[in-house]
Symmetry: C2
Subunit: 149 residues, 2 copies
Amino acid sequence: MPSSKNTQFAVAVHVLTYLAGQAEGGPVSSDELSASTNVNPVHVRRVLGPLREAGLVCSRPGVHGGWELARPAGDITLARVWRLLQGDDQVLGLHGPNPDCPVGRGVQRSLTAIDGAVAEAVAAELERSTVQDVLTREVRGARPVPGQA
Amino acid sequence: MPSSKNTQFAVAVHVLTYLAGQAEGGPVSSDELSASTNVNPVHVRRVLGPLREAGLVCSRPGVHGGWELARPAGDITLARVWRLLQGDDQVLGLHGPNPDCPVGRGVQRSLTAIDGAVAEAVAAELERSTVQDVLTREVRGARPVPGQA
DNA sequence: TTAATTCGTAATCACAATAGCTACAGTTAG
DNA sequence: CTAACTGTAGCTATTGTGATTACGAATTAA
């Protein structure tokens, strides 16, 4: 079960949504963001680092510094955020089968391909929501998925 | 990012595929399965436990005991396996936002809904492959995903 | 019956990932 | 200069995963 305890994606979405709601109020400090998300301010900064490098947010040190969205909330899809924080990690976990076992090699290859397809499916689903959608809680209705109840 | 280091799904698919390939040869022991998957025999048994309870495999103790598929490999979808091992865990990790923060509450609700939709998307993708498919390495071509490259 | 084999499971250990926390250097506004 | 921030580097606590050992129960062969 992939289930990670990794909450960075959730924290990132939370922070971005918060920033979207404060768009007119100037920069927001890590401390304020950490109070809302209930995580450590240092952790907030660590999560926001990759998003800044990707141009989604910007930060300023100094007295009235803090964080701001660098682009409209409606332009930031959750898929973008997920990919930035996901890196190249696999969605389903793989294992290291015995390389001498032909079954193992075949299974490994199949699973790698399937993992890629699953990652695409996840991204496609997340592509359907933006930070703006989360802010307005207007999460677009789930598309009926073929072959599934 | 979901990425767990959990390899139970991969191990389960591996073992099921191995059993499918040995369908005529009688029960296969945990030791033999552990040699192919490169994981501990105890771990193999632990992973296989839920699959046995779900009626996918059966096991027998004793001298010529071991594991066998309890149904045709073509009837076992990877989605079934994933759901059995996934339990109720979230795909994307959530966090515990400050309950006093209205933004936090809204984000939490949105993320929970989105997580459900993503889980459905993953399951739908995995519904497209069976253990038989993995055995023959004939992984069905990826369906073009709407709204995604 | 006895011995060998194999599952079932508990207990313990090692390792890695996550995130909390402290500390401190660098920046900026006033 | 000073206060308020970010940016990082450590260190620690907690947790999840899986290896390992151990032992009991079930089954088969002799």
